[in-house]
Symmetry: D2
Subunit: 163 residues, 4 copies
């Protein structure tokens, strides 16, 4: 999401365009530290928590999240609400897109619904489609416990300064 | 959402392609009854309820929904989560797309995020872009209390039998 | 594209919902015949021909197309026009989505542009994301001669009768 | 389209974030000059020209383009090819998104097809959905001569330096 009032200030490195290069020169240990910091941020996602969405793992450019479908995720005709599927995918996308050490704010997302379900555990797997200087793009597959495809998501993120 | 196991059976009129014509010949009173029935279905949307999303109004091809943004809607950096915005828009879209008397299941949706916010009441206004025999399309504008655009959503629905 | 005036009449099998099962029971030779018939239809795509887009191959649920970028594909600032990239992807999508023996009309498509180029040969590879009873979904990757990603496309098709 | 090798260099004003403010302080005459310059750039769009797409008008945040549908725009089943519709919409979007005096490169676009046609003149009308510091969003309606909706397009553009 574009957020002009974002309180996270860009540092000078980012302004000068050096942040990416700087980040990629980090030693493995520092990268691990960053992923840990990212995990802390993601754990504070209250909308994900409120809807029982949980981060399973996050790597560089990839992430996995899951959601056990229950009563609270259903719509008025007892099928999972589109918003619940979107939120699961968006959370995995947020994790993956922020994994490079720079703050990534979602600018756009698209979701296609393949199959309506009412129970079971869903897993969302985010993968990087492309990563540029200022924009990056991800796809997310949502599958059920048997691997049946439930929905497909793509998202674009705007890259800001380091977190 | 496409849902092959959907328990709502198509009636014979729909199968023969007569349902739409039948519906449009309904007298005003009958249409009002249908919108009332739709409102009842929408009130049972547990995901919307769980996230404090409320239907304001629904008309033929249009609907308004609102959501007071609170702590539970925020992500790990204290901005409204994309999924909360999507769910609000999707709920207004569901109301509008189901307003013609036929069950409309979402097949695809797209959202563009314009501005990150952290509080205040958001309103989603759904309008019909087009309605065909088997597919209909809607746009949804999400605005804040001052009318500032927060997000823009478009959705496609597959039309099934009468509800 | 939804086309109510489409002259290709649905046959009775399709109306009764039997067409898909019928098709999948075809012997390999018959399937090959169908892919040949599809190739003939695709060769008559005048918009693709006019813009030097060529089908490389088509299989069940997949297709490859290519386009040598030349002067005619450029916009006013000498970069390939977005419409040229879209048309290349859309053509591969049309080939792949029609490969199952049923007429597939595009209802929606999305394209993300990764990199502007001005020359060289582009290749579009279409893959099936999902295929349901009435809707199918495909992704298309466009890459340059070195395999660098130029654009990513997703498309939805509505499935009609056999061709 | 993101184009890292873009030959149009960003000037210093843009780098310092001053370009927008500078532009909006232009006197009316200067703005007219800019729109004229933009029209010259659009007239050199060879892909639009090759496919008989013509700019009708361009204003601040809006544009109209048209295309007389002929043999060359048809696909293998004699319906207008999705790429022809996309290109028409994309051209109107390019005109509108570049009308603010800054170079706008498309990053993403979405098109929904409502109705297949085979002849007649199509008109595309682009309108601004939102314009931020670095991204702007537009919708484009494509209608036939009777005003019947043929397709709906939305596009996102990344804003660079002044042209």
């Amino acid at each position: 999401m574009t957020n002009d009032q974002n309180s996270i200030s860009r540092n000078d490195k980012e302004k000068s365009g050096l942040s990416t290069r700087f980040f990629y020169s980090l030693k493995p240990l520092e990268m691990e530290d960053r992923l840990k910091r990212l995990e802390q941020i993601l754990k504070k996602d209250r909308f994900a928590n409120h809807n029982e969405i949980r981060l399973v793992s996050v790597g560089i450019g990839t992430a996995v999240a899951e959601m056990p479908v229950s009563e609270k995720h259903l719509n008025g005709v007892n099928i999972i609400q589109g918003g619940a599927l979107f939120t699961l995918a968006d959370f995995a996308f947020a994790a993956a897109s922020n994994s490079h050490g720079r703050i990534a704010v979602a600018t756009q997302a698209n979701i296609t619904f393949f199959k309506g379900i009412s129970s079971g555990k869903l897993t969302a797997v985010a993968k990087e489609l492309n990563s540029g200087k200022t924009l990056s793009h991800y796809s997310v597959d949502i599958v059920d416990e048997k691997g049946v495809k439930i929905a497909y998501f793509t998202g674009a993120a705007f890259l800001k300064g380091e977190y």
